[in-house]
Subunit: 103 residues, 2 copies
Amino acid sequence: MALRHIALFRWREGTTAEQISRVGEALGVLPEAIPELIDYSFGPDEGLSEGNFDFAVVADVADAAGYAVYRDHPDHQAALAVVRPLLAERSALQLEIPDIDRR
Amino acid sequence: MALRHIALFRWREGTTAEQISRVGEALGVLPEAIPELIDYSFGPDEGLSEGNFDFAVVADVADAAGYAVYRDHPDHQAALAVVRPLLAERSALQLEIPDIDRR
């Protein structure tokens, strides 16, 4: 089994495209910086359903230890420092998933 | 590109393990019933972080048309009928992800 971390964000009213682009830049460096990330996806909601959150991050790691490395990594903490001031709401969860292959 | 649908649930106080097990059974039939599902993961939160939601569903499909097939499929609607009475809160989103291989 592997472990999937999911975080959904809802941005504060007035959050700009430029601010969200900075979030993407801060997250985009993480797959190279953190080898514990087996798969890493993030991006804005596609606008297919009303009431959706605005942005998702999905981090697949081997296990709880790998998740802790990701969570506490300085580059991830730096990304959180970009995300936090924009957050109106956050939903998160970690679930077990079948073993996955590195992309 | 492919499309990833994410739904996070928080159960009402008093939701039983048996009720959650029925949710798992209702969702478990969907990968065979809905060929549009390229990958499908669901399960409870692993309890690694405080404040997390309780249960996640992640459905990977080719595109918005595949997502609509999943969303409207009678077996998915039947699963939603099991989930809805238990819901205190739901967060959802669809995001683009790189192309994925069928498991």
